[in-house]
């Protein structure tokens, strides 16, 4: 009896494994943290959610906004503080419920609630109201021209499902109870959840009632998603044919993967810039050997340090060509970026002259804090910078550590020289200014570890939020950038390049947000 049961179970497992050819076995370094679409504002979590849930507006694989659950949207003609969204009709959730305006209202309110991790993106929203079943109005506290850009990762849950399963509240970590929505999912997306073991394996199957069956390739019928943390193991799994598609291929293995029969590598610039921050605001800093003065407060020193960094060498050797040297801390996708500002040159002699002029001809020594598990080759980049800065007399002690120890140093102001990477999900400079340039305070400047404070600039940054005249707004953005560049507020290194490795059966281009959406994949 028991033996029969076991046998049956074994048979079941083997047949399940040998399913159809359109299965996409997908691996990346980290798993989604939760299935609750509003609990975490984090890349891998959103990427998995995008297969199951949908936002009103989605970014396609090139990063361009595309209609998803909303078919069109525009500011109201009567009131500049209102955006009107027309919803797609005939859309059904995986459990068969209809998608309507009340789900939008429910989802936005849920995403604005205290435990939500998405609420900062929705700060300007005062109210969401239904005009009819398939029209909603977003009321903002002032004109908000970039509101749609904030909604591309805001997923729509079914109100009825959430209420029936006691998942109205966003997961509260200290609440003691886990929510149903963290381990179950009911979206409108192209794939349905079959099973999930966090950190181990997640299986999704195609949603045959998907509204976009004819609008997208929809070649993938099943997704098996397995996180593989160790880079060498991940590459090995692709090389040995155990997975079909991996994200985060280490740059040194791109050659090997590309040369292997049946495998291809695709790359594209990522929406993320890597740079160093310097504490210029303090009178004296703790992590250097200069007493009673702060060498970083002198713009000549900051310029000299920037000139000492050979970005081309980093690109060529450390990144194996997989980066784009940067002169400003905005990725090229971002409104406000300009090619002219995004230039940086290396000139050791000029840098030495600047150091001498600033009174540091003999250099100084300082500690560089660097993460070692966050960005592509983060530690190796810092190490290369140590060598380059040594050439102008700046002795750098490198302290590389896991991200969980690194980032608190920046937000708590405990580091004077640090590496940081910044992605811009809204594709607009305001996002960069708010977090990295504005004086550190309650609402803004939380990631500004430079100690830089410029009230004029702060006023300009704040004005961007409500400026509806786009030309005027862009002019202000340009003015702010000019100051940022003049002050050498940060020390830009490069724009990251993304790469995906896959079997040649998979047809897809890399998206700048590193978020593969499997409905766009073709399979041969």
């Amino acid at each position: 009896m028991t033996r029969k049961l076991v046998l049956a179970a074994a048979l079941l497992a083997t047949t399940a494994a040998g399913a159809s050819a359109e299965t996409l076995r997908w691996a990346r370094a980290g798993d989604s943290l939760t299935l609750d679409p509003h609990a975490q504002n984090e890349g891998p979590t959103h990427t998995l959610a995008h297969q199951i849930y949908e936002p009103l507006i989605i970014r396609d694989m090139t990063g361009a906004p595309q209609a998803a659950l909303a078919t069109d949207w525009a500011p109201s003609e009567d009131d500049p503080n209102i955006w009107v969204f027309n919803l797609r009709q005939g859309v059904k959730y995986h459990d068969g419920a209809d998608f309507t305006a009340e789900d939008v209202i429910f989802s936005i309110n849920r995403a604005k609630s205290e435990n939500s991790n998405m609420k900062e993106l929705l700060n300007s929203i005062v109210e969401v109201r239904a005009v009819d079943d398939h029209t909603v109005e977003f009321v903002t506290d002032g004109p908000n021209p970039i509101l749609p850009a904030n909604l591309t990762n805001l997923f729509m849950m079914d109100k009825g499902w959430a209420e029936a399963n006691d998942a109205v509240e966003v997961q509260d970590v200290e609440g003691g109870e886990t929510t149903f929505a963290a381990t179950n999912a009911n979206g409108t997306g192209a794939f349905k959840l079959v099973s999930r073991e966090p950190d181990v394996k997640t299986v999704l199957t195609q949603n045959e009632n998907y509204w976009g069956m004819n609008d997208f390739p929809m070649d993938v019928t099943e997704i098996i998603y397995t996180p593989i943390q160790n880079a060498a193991t991940r590459v090995a799994a692709l090389l040995s044919g155990e997975v079909d598609f991996i994200q985060d291929v280490p740059v040194q293995d791109l050659g090997r993967v590309g040369e292997t029969d049946g495998l291809v590598v695709k790359t594209a610039p990522q929406n993320r810039v890597i740079f160093f921050g310097m504490n210029m605001g303090a009178e004296d800093i703790a992590n250097d050997d200069v007493e009673g003065a702060n060498p970083l407060s002198d713009v000549r020193v900051r310029r000299a340090m920037s000139m000492a960094i050979n970005r081309d060498a980093i690109r060529q050797v450390v990144m194996r060509g997989q980066s784009q040297p940067a002169g400003m801390i905005a990725p090229p996708f971002v409104n406000g970026w300009s090619e002219e500002m995004d230039q940086a040159s290396t000139d050791i002699e000029a840098a030495k002259a600047l150091m001498e002029e600033a009174g540091y001809a003999d250099g100084f020594s300082i500690q560089l804090d660097c993460p070692n598990d966050r960005y592509v080759n983060d530690e190796a980049i810092c190490q290369a910078a140590v060598g380059m800065l040594a050439q102008i007399g700046v002795t750098v002690n490198l302290d590389a550590k896991p991200k969980a120890q690194h980032f608190p140093l920046i937000t708590n102001g405990e580091t004077d020289f640090y590496m940081l990477g910044w992605g811009v999900p809204t594709y607009d400079s305001e996002y960069i200014f708010n977090f990295l340039v504005h004086t550190r305070g309650e609402e803004r400047g939380s990631w500004n570890g430079t100690g830089y404070s410029n009230p004029d600039l702060d006023a300009k940054i704040v004005s961007l939020a409500s400026e509806t005249d786009l030309d005027k707004r862009n002019a202000t953005i340009a003015e702010i950038w000019e100051v940022v560049q003049d002050e050498q507020l940060y020390l830009p290194i490069h724009h990251q390049v993304l790469n995906w490795g896959m079997t040649d059966a998979v047809g897809i281009e890399v998206s700048p947000e590193d978020d593969p959406k499997m409905k766009f994949f073709t399979m041969n």
Partner: protein
């Protein structure tokens, strides 16, 4: 017991060196080719590490002398940009692998020796105390040993790492990692010394000669040091040798988990951790040479320890 038997001499006494050379211990050493070769390998590697600044063509710990464009130069082939040639090639930062290995071995050996010394010191002291004094002292020491066993070395390392980071001034943080490694490995390794010493002490303290020493009023300290300690030296020597190999490997393992020597001043373990990233990409030399060095070092020490165990065990002669 390892000394040459003292026989009443008629012929002139041979010199100390000659006597040592002809001792049983040395006799069995000379007749064990594996032991001789291992000893030679360890000696060469240790000397190479000690005199690294004289031997190494470059100083890999001086970042100012590195040229990033030299990165990934294969062994013996001129670099395409700089035309520099390196015996064992260069790593991802343009460091000469040969020089880096020599300097890295210094760190690995230093960490290994210091950690074993620390473990020995703690282990022997606590083992003697536990065995000789007994009672609550013994209970507490052996329970502490239990706690110690519970904590894998990586956790101990992380704990000490974190605390050390908080209390060391920034300018010393560079060297801190090495002391943290020594402390972590030493602290996680003392238990076996303590257990062996305690066991031997329990046996020895009831023997007549110890009882006699106690009766004539020798202090417990003197008894432990003069009478009991010599009896534990053989097993301690064996454990210490094996521990040395283990400590060097442990250092490598810790660096894989991110709690190792910093990449700017790498140990052999850090070099292997970095090198394994280039295993699939064809730059085999970045992993191969450090790994072979570590293998040669640890294997030789292990083989020596192996031979030592047999040689010092009179029943196996």
């Amino acid at each position: 017991m390892t000394d040459a038997p003292m026989t009443p001499e008629k012929a002139p006494r041979p010199s100390r060196l000659k006597r040592a050379w002809e001792s049983d211990f040395m006799w069995s050493f000379r007749h064990a080719p594996v032991a001789v070769v291992s000893f030679a390998v360890v000696t060469v590697l240790v000397l190479a590490a000690v005199f690294a600044p004289l031997i190494a063509p470059h100083n890999p710990f001086d970042p100012g002398t590195l040229n990033l464009m030299n990165g990934f130069t294969p062994p013996g082939v001129p670099n395409q940009f700089t035309s520099d040639t390196f015996l064992m090639g260069t790593d991802d930062q343009g460091r000469d692998v040969f020089s880096t290995i020599l300097y890295g071995m210094r760190i690995s050996l230093f960490v290994g020796f210091a950690a074993v010394f620390l473990a020995m010191l703690i282990g022997i002291t606590l083992g003697l105390l536990a065995g000789y004094v007994g009672g609550w002292t013994e209970s507490i020491i052996m329970r502490v040993a239990d706690v110690q066993l519970t904590f894998p070395a990586i956790l101990v390392a992380m704990l000490i790492f974190g605390i050390a980071k908080g209390i060391t001034p920034p300018e010393y943080r560079d060297q801190m990692a090495i002391w943290v490694l020594i402390l972590a490995i030493g602290l996680s390794d003392w238990v076996q010394f303590a257990r062996v010493v305690r066991g031997t002490t329990l046996v020895e303290k009831n023997k007549e000669y110890v009882q006699a020493a106690r009766l004539i009023g020798r202090s417990p300290f003197a008894i432990m040091l003069k009478h009991i300690l010599p009896n534990v030296l053989n097993p301690v020597l064996v454990i210490a040798t094996i521990s040395l190999a283990l400590a060097i490997i442990a250092e490598a393992t810790l660096s894989f988990l991110g709690v190792g020597a910093p990449p700017t001043k790498p140990s052999l373990g850090t070099l292997i951790r970095i090198g394994q990233e280039f295993m699939f990409s064809g730059e085999w030399w970045i992993l191969f040479f450090p790994a072979m060095t570590l293998l040669a070092l640890a294997l030789s020490i292990n083989l020596l320890g192996d031979w030592l165990r047999d040689a010092l065990n009179p029943r196996l002669r």
